[in-house]
Each structure stands twice: as structure tokens, then as C-alpha cells.
Amino acid sequence: MIHAILSFPGILLLSFLPWYYGEYPVRIFRQYIAYAKAFLEIISIVFLIKTFLSPWKSIVDEYPKNLTNIGEIAQVFTLNCTTRIIGMIFRTVALSVAIILHAALIVLFTVYLVLWLSYPGILIVLAYLSFS
């Protein structure tokens, strides 16, 4: 017991402080990266951007071979534009949700990190206030 108690200052200086202000904040940041990546997988932002203008569910019509048939060309053009616009709308919604989620994630982790870093300071201030 005595041996253990005697080693506390050493633990505080050599083990706790480097861990508390060095290792663990890095760990928190890494955790954030892992969650951000997971969210990117769930709502595939990269993929949604890559395919932002793609037709919805590959619903497209083929243009007629006879290019003189303006009416049919216009009809196919309209359908293809519509399916792309629908795709864009859905992807915009999905992207918006993704951005909101990422913003929430950033806020959550920032609060946690700030709390973590300031916790000993708060304790010291409280101790000072209560003694004074």
C-alpha cells in the first residue's frame, strides 16, 4: 500500500499527464475519424457526388436512330432529363442529411474534447474557490 502510494506522484507526472493531454486527445480525434468514415459509408457522400447527375434507378430511354423524328427525340430528352432531375433531388436530400449528421458529429466530439481537456482546470478552479 505504502509503496503504491509513494509511486503516485511518479504516475501522475510520467504516466497520467502525458496520457491525459497527449495520447487520449489523439484517441478522441481518431474515434471521430472512425465515426466520420462510418457515416460516409452509410450515406456515401463520395459516391453520391460522383453519381450526382446520374439517372434515377438507371431509368433512361434510348434516342431514336432516325434523327429527323424531332418529337420522339424531345420525348426521350424530357424523360432522361426528368430521371436525372429526380436523381439529383434524392441525392441532394441525402447529401443534406449527411452534412447535418457530420456537423452533429463534429459538435459532439468537440464538446467532449473540450470537456476532457478543461476538466482538471475546472477541478483546480473549484478547489481554489472552495478553499478561498
Binding site: 503504491a4 504516466s15 456515401s44 453520391l48 434507378k57 438507371s58 436523381g87 441525402a94 475546472i122 477541478l123
Partner: protein, 814 residues
């Protein structure tokens, strides 16, 4: 050189425990609660909860920090471990159990390891109770020095690749130390190597059992999947109607499985998928070798790669083949619409669980449609076929066959199968939540018996199904451990052969086998001795290698009992003459006749030979190769493989297991030599005689030396002397008279001097006792038929047959 100390108080784990007790021990919790109660009281009175909430938050956050700090810095291996103090290698769990109990002793170490949850795995694998173990070793613990014990434990942990001295390492070190511990290991039938494996499995089991947090990033991805990737793929209603999607479920199953076998096959499959050309694969292998699991594992790796690289996801769809082929009027049109949709919509892997069904379909249009889409780059087809059906149905259609990359899946190796079994047993215990444990000895026995007796199915599937049955039986019997008897019972049911533990009756039967055989086989005691020896070894699992149960070459003249021995043996050992597979080797005298053994080479031909079919249907048989000297050398070469390796791979790639057969080859080779030698050298010893005979046979080139050497025993059948012949005559006479008494109900009394007449007529130097039975039937049955026609006789009457009457009867017939 300084001697390392052994002080638990100077370990980091101990310091951590003291720190934990100060910050979050019982007393500290009381202080925190008192403070919070006081603040709450003030808050209730003033109606302002700000300070209370703030302080409560601070305490909780502080405890949260303390938990993380303890977990990260005081459990597990210490980076700055103090090598001069052996106790610093002890795991935190062990230190916690010893903490505060004075000096370190082996007794404390042993008790601490038994208290640890981690030791339960080892104890259950050994199949003993903690209390009985403690009781047995109690007195021996004081004789071991704690310091030297820790030194051994540390060396042992390092050998096993474990960083700290954990509870399983402590137990294992004790068990390796000899004396009473060795006795304990022997009681559990566990070797030192087995023990090491158990300790390593404990580490693995912890990993398998470690539950992943439901809030972990990986859990989120698995729960929600990938949103938006399917939006670029088209609607696939026609395809969905005839397929089942397994893209998501394989991810779960792969994780649940815990480990992957057939790793090289997976790697080569992923390589094939990564290239731009043909992506169709045909997985060929026997039942239960894990073809479908392999496909699922490939799907998992593919999904992982697509996720990591932001690619469009490939969907895995299982085609409902039976439904397409039999549930629709025009299956070709249904398949065409479905696959067209798949081709148009995007990335798909279509899984066909039994491709041979398409090949057997009478509708050739279905095959045409499938062939067309096999050439498509946007669809990959994973087809599955057994080795047999692949050779029978697919290989013959070379255009179709060439569309696939073949992946040959073989049964898992013993080590892979044991790993799979171990993981499955851990999972089963976790899933069922029942207190039934599988001992390591039972697992090894399960593997050995499955490999030996369930030859129609491959590992690991066959062993897993036996394991599940054995656990169920143990549960029903309310047993704590899955015992050998449960395993044997499950295998007996599945393999349809009795491998249940050798009972007292059976042991008695085995011990009396020689006597039983001797009553039916006359004058061939040496042969009987050798046979019985081999059978005893087989029954007690001593001869459990990769060879048949016994292989014997019977040499001797005609009519001395070689074939008769085989018949009697099949009856006694396998329970009936239907287990006798008799092959007349004179039918295999030409070089081409080898195909009669290894099967047709023509892919569309009927395939298997009579021999392989019979052995597959009756794996527990006596194979009698009659007159083996008449077979062509090419045929004998095929038997070299069977005698040596215990299996035969035929022309269709189908493996037939001969390990559960007894093979007896009979031959008249050297018959003249035997007769002459005995006449001239009656004083010589039998060993010398056998050597001379074998030398003569090799010299005559009847058999090659390597062929003769492949047999467990070469047994000589000697010409019968007059006493043997009389005994045989009496035996046969007795059999026939008993048969008539049972069938017709007459009591037949035969005069003694008839026997001499039977021997005179039924025995010859050239044919031995071959004619004996015919002579007895002629004399007794024919005489009896005439007698019954001429006299009135009813069931129960006694009919006496005298030599004079028989002679008169025979004279009247001449």
C-alpha cells in the same frame, strides 16, 4: 547476475488497484454519494439544481476518466515492465485475486488462477471440476517454489506467444510440472501439446466472445448499410422474382463465423474478380467441404474492398434454380428476362447452388440462355458442383465448361477443421447459453471419427453437424460435458455404422473371435491368429491411420479354406455375408480391364465401377479379391494405391475410401511349390517355408515385391491333412443336418462310418476339400428325398442313415 525478485507489491497492477480503491473504491463512492446527497438536499430546499447537476456531472466525468485510465494503463502488459521483478508479468486479474493477501506463494497463485473466469475455459476443455482439481493437487502445491514457478510460467507464456502470465498460463505451467499434475492430465487423456493448444484457444475464444459495442462505427455501418449506392442500379423486379439476395446477410454470417479457412482459394477467387475479363467461377468439391461458405467469404472480402474504395456495390443473388426449372412453363424465357435485367442494371454476382440441374434439364434453351450470359462482363456467375456431377454433367460440355474458372475445394485439413470446430463450439455455447461444455478430448475424437467414418461428406461440415447433434444429446441427458459416448452416438447415427464405445459384450466377442473363427475354419490357425490381431487393433482404434483395417494375401492350394475364411470373417466382423464384396480377378486379366476398377474415361459414360460403387454404398465391408494372380499388372498397380493409402480416385475424380474395409486377396500362386515343399521338407519351420514361397513367387514374377510388401500379412494356407479333412467333413455334415432339422423338422442320425466315405469322395490332393459340400449334399439330401418319397414321415421323426443304406442308394443310382 542479479536474481529476479518476486514482489507483487511492486507491480504496476498492484499500484493500479490501490489507486482505483482510492479514487473509485467503496469508501470513495460513499464520500461521493454523501456529497451529492448534501447538495441535493440544498438544491431541493432552494429549488436551484445548478450546483448539484454540475458537481454530479463532474463526479461522473471523473469516474469515466478513471475507468479509461485504469483500463489503458494498468491492465494488460506494461510497456516499462520491470524485468527484475517476476511478479510484474502477472496479469491484472491474477494480481487482483492475490492483492492484499501477503507474500506470494504457489498456493495463492493456483487459487487465484482457479478464481479467474479465464481459467474456466481450460478447466472445461479438460473436462474436470475446479473443486476436484483443487482437492487433488492441494498437498503438492507447497512443494513448489513461487519464484522458480513464475520463471517457468513466464518462459511458457513466451513460448505460447502470450505477453503476461494469465490464469490459463498458470494452470498450464502447474499441469506441466509432473507428479500429481501429470496424473491429472493422464486422467483427462490430454497431452502437453494438447494443453498448449487449449491455452492458445483460450486467447482466441476471448476474441470471438468479445462483444462489439452497438455504438461502434462498424456496428452502425452493418446496421444501416450503404445508403444511395443502389440508386444508380435499375429496378430489377424480374430478377428479384427468381433470386434471393444474400449481400447483407453474408456480412453478418462471416463475422459470426470468426475465422476463414480455404484462404488460398479465397485469394485466387478475389484475384479472378479483380480482373476485367471473365468472372465466372465454378466451385467443385465434395459435400460439406464448405463450397457455399467459401462463396460467402469471397462476397465478404469483395464488399470490404468496394466499401474501402468507394465503388458501386456488387449484389449477391442466389438463383432459385429448382423454381425456374420446374415452376415455369418457359424457364428459358424467365431466365432470359431475369439475366437481361441483371446485365442492364449493373453489378451482380449470380450464385447457382447446383449447376448440374441446368445440365440435366431437358430444356436445352435454358443452357443456351445461361451460356449467353456467362459471356457478359457485368454479371459474374458463381456456380457450385460436386466433383461427381461436374465430371458427369459439366465437363462433357466443353463450350460451357470453358466459361468458368474452376476452383477445386478440398476438405479442410485436420488443423483447419479443428479450428472451425473450436470456433463453432464456442459459438454454440454462447448461442444456446446452456451449461454444456465440449472437452478438447471430445473435439479431437470427433474430428478423428468423422474423418474415418463419415467418408461420404467432407470436413469441416460433416464434423460440425456431428458436434451439433452431440451437444443436443448431452443437453437432453442433462450432462455437463459432451462426452466421447455422445460423439460416438452421433457418428453412429449419421454414418449408419456402430462406432459406439466398445462395450463389455463386444470386448468379450473380440476376445473370443479366435475361438469363433477356429470352429469354422479348420487347419489354418496361423491365419486366424494374424487376422484376429488386426481386427482387435482396428476395433480399439489403434490402427486408425490412412490404410484399410487390414490387408492380407492368402496363399495356398485350392480347397483349403481361403475364400471360406473371408466369408466367415465378413459374417463375424461386419455382421453378414452381404458385407462381402467379392471380385473375381480373372475378369481383370487384360490391360483395358483396369477401367473396370477406375471407371470409364468417357465424360458422358456411365462412370463408376462396380467395385467403387459397392465400397461407397457399403464402406464397412470385406473386399475379397479372388485369384489375384490372374489380374493384369496394370490392375495390380491400382490396388497398390488402395493398399497403401486407403483410397482410390477414379477417372471422374471421385475418391472412394477403403479405410473401413478389410482387404483379402487370395491366390493359388505357388500351390505346387507348397505341396512339393511340404512333402520334401516336413521338418522345416513355417517361417522358412513362407520365405521360400514368397521368394519363388517373386522369382516367377507372379507378383512384384512392392505388391507383396503392401499387405499387412502374407498368410499361408497349408494343404489339409487327413485329420483336418475329417474335421471339415464333420463340421459340414453337422451344418447340413442342422439345416434340415430346422427347415423340415426331421432329426437325422448319421452313422460315423459315413464320414470316412464322405472324406474319400469329397477330398482330393488337387482340389482339397472343395468337393466336400457337394458330396455331402448328394449323399444326405438326395438319399433323404428318396427316403421321404418311399416312406411316410412327419415332422419330429428320427431318420437314421447308415453307410450300407447310402452305398445301396448310390449303387442304385449308378
Amino acid at each position: 547476475m542479479t536474481v529476479p525478485k518476486c514482489d507483487i507489491r511492486q507491480t504496476k497492477a498492484n499500484t493500479g488497484l490501490v489507486l482505483h480503491n482510492i479514487l473509485a473504491g467503496k469508501l470513495s463512492i460513499v464520500v461521493y454519494l454523501s456529497l451529492l446527497i448534501a447538495l441535493l438536499k440544498t438544491a431541493v430546499e432552494s429549488g436551484d439544481y445548478t450546483i448539484f447537476s454540475f458537481v454530479a456531472g463532474l463526479i461522473l466525468f471523473g469516474l469515466h476518466i478513471e475507468t479509461i485510465f485504469m483500463k489503458e494503463k494498468f491492465s494488460g502488459i506494461d510497456e516499462q515492465i520491470e524485468e527484475s521483478n517476476l511478479a510484474s508479468y502477472l496479469s491484472t486479474e491474477i494480481v487482483r485475486h492475490i492483492h492484499g493477501k501477503g507474500n506470494l506463494t504457489t498456493n495463492k497463485l493456483f487459487n487465484a488462477s482457479l478464481k479467474s473466469i479465464r481459467s474456466s475455459f481450460v478447466i472445461n476443455m479438460l473436462g474436470i471440476e475446479k473443486s476436484s482439481m483443487a482437492k487433488k493437487v492441494k498437498s503438492s502445491l507447497q512443494n513448489i517454489d513461487a519464484q522458480s514457478f513464475l520463471k517457468d510460467a513466464l518462459a511458457h507464456a513466451k513460448d505460447l506467444g502470450i505477453e503476461t502470465i494469465t490464469a490459463p498460463v498458470i494452470l498450464s505451467t502447474f499441469l506441466r510440472s509432473g507428479g500429481v499434475f501429470k496424473e491429472l492430465l493422464n486422467e483427462c487423456d490430454i497431452s502437453i501439446n494438447d494443453l498448449d493448444e487449449i491455452v492458445q484457444w483460450e486467447v482466441f475464444s476471448r476474441r470471438v466472445n468479445a462483444s462489439e459495442s452497438t455504438l461502434s462505427p462498424e456496428s452502425f455501418v452493418r446496421a444501416f448499410g450503404s445508403f444511395g449506392r443502389g440508386w444508380v442500379q435499375g429496378y430489377t423486379s424480374e430478377l428479384d422474382r427468381v433470386t434471393d439476395e444474400i449481400s447483407g446477410s453474408v456480412q453478418w454470417r462471416s463475422k459470426k463465423r470468426g475465422l476463414m479457412i480455404h484462404k488460398k482459394k479465397i485469394e485466387s477467387a478475389v484475384h479472378i474478380l479483380s480482373r476485367s475479363g471473365q468472372k465466372n467461377m465454378l466451385f467443385v468439391g465434395d459435400k460439406d467441404v464448405g463450397k457455399e461458405t467459401l462463396i460467402e467469404n469471397i462476397g465478404t472480402l469483395l464488399r470490404k474492398d468496394e466499401m474501402e474504395n468507394g465503388k458501386e456495390l456488387t449484389r449477391l443473388l442466389v438463383l432459385r434454380t429448382e423454381e425456374i426449372l420446374s415452376g415455369y412453363k418457359h424457364p428459358d424465357r424467365v431466365l432470359l428476362r431475369a439475366l437481361s435485367k441483371a446485365e442492364k442494371a449493373g453489378k451482380f454476382v449470380i450464385i447457382i447452388k447446383d449447376i448440374s440441374l441446368f445440365m440435366q434439364s431437358s430444356d436445352s434453351n435454358v443452357r443456351t440462355v445461361l451460356s449467353k450470359f456467362l459471356q457478359s462482363k457485368s454479371i459474374g456467375v458463381f456456380a457450385v458442383a460436386s466433383a461427381d456431377s461436374y465430371h458427369k454433367y459439366v465437363k462433357g460440355n466443353s463450350a460451357f465448361d470453358s466459361q468458368f474458372e474452376k476452383i477445386y475445394v478440398e476438405a479442410a485439413s485436420g488443423k483447419e477443421a479443428l479450428s472451425t470446430l473450436m470456433v463453432r463450439s464456442i459459438q454454440l455455447q454462447k448461442e444456446k447459453g446452456k451449461n454444456t461444455y465440449i472437452t478438447f478430448r471430445a473435439l479431437k475424437m470427433l474430428l478423428r471419427l468423422t474423418e474415418r467414418y463419415m467418408t461420404n461428406a467432407g470436413l469441416p461440415g460433416s464434423a460440425i453437424s456431428v458436434l451439433e447433434d452431440a451437444i443436443l444429446t448431452a443437453n437432453n441427458e442433462k450432462q455437463k460435458y459432451v462426452l466421447e459416448s455422445h460423439i460416438r452416438k452421433a457418428i453412429s447415427l449419421k454414418a449408419r455404422v456402430d462406432v459406439e464405445d466398445v462395450s463389455t459384450d463386444e470386448k468379450q466377442k473380440l476376445l473370443q473371435l479366435k475361438e469363433t473363427l477356429s470352429t469354422s475354419i479348420i487347419g489354418q490357425d496361423e491365419s486366424i491368429d494374424a487376422l484376429v490381431g488386426a481386427l482387435k487393433r482396428a476395433k480399439m482404434d489403434i490402427n486408425a491411420g490412412n490404410r484399410p483395417l487390414g490387408t492380407f494375401l492368402f496363399l495356398g492350394p485350392t480347397g483349403v479354406g481361403k475364400t471360406h475364411t473371408a466369408k466367415i470373417l465378413s459374417n463375424e466382423y461386419f455382421g453378414g455375408e452381404e458385407s462381402l464384396i467379392r471380385v473375381d480377378m480373372n475378369e481383370y486379366g487384360t490391360e483395358e480391364s483396369v477401367y473396370g476398377i477406375i471407371g470409364d474415361t468417357n465424360p458422358s459414360g456411365s462412370g463408376q465401377s462396380y467395385l467403387t460403387k459397392r465400397v461407397q454404398d457399403h464402406p464397412f465391408s470385406l473386399l475379397l479379391l479372388d485369384e489375384i494372380e490372374k489380374a493384369h499388372p496394370a490392375v495390380l498397380n491400382v490396388f497398390l494405391q488402395i493398399l497403401d493409402e486407403g483410397h482410390l480416385t477414379d477417372n471422374k475424380g471421385k475418391k472412394t475410401d477403403f479405410r473401413n474395409t478389410i482387404i483379402i486377396a487370395t491366390s493359388n500362386a505357388g500351390a505346387l511349390f507348397i505341396r512339393d515343399f511340404i512333402a520334401k521338407n516336413s521338418n522345416k519351420k513355417k517361417d522358412e517355408f513362407k520365405k521360400s514361397l514368397v521368394d519363388t513367387i517373386i522369382k516367377d514374377r507372379t507378383f512384384s515385391p512392392e505388391f507383396i510388401n503392401r499387405f499387412d500379412e502374407v498368410l499361408l494356407y497349408y494343404p489339409l491333412n487327413i485329420h483336418d479333412t475329417i474335421s471339415i467333413a464333420l463340421l459340414m455334415l453337422d451344418g447340413i443336418v442342422t439345416e434340415i432339422a430346422e427347415k423340415k423338422g426331421f432329426n437325422i442320425r448319421v452313422e460315423e462310418d459315413i464320414v470316412a466315405e464322405i472324406v474319400k469322395r469329397g477330398y482330393s490332393v488337387e482340389f482339397g476339400a472343395r468337393e466336400m459340400r457337394r458330396v455331402i449334399v448328394d449323399i444326405i439330401e438326395n438319399y433323404l428325398a428318396d427316403y421321404l418319397l418311399q416312406n411316410k414321415a412327419k415332422r419330429g421323426d428320427t431318420i437314421k442313415i447308415s453307410l450300407k443304406e447310402v452305398k445301396d442308394y448310390l449303387k442304385s443310382k449308378e
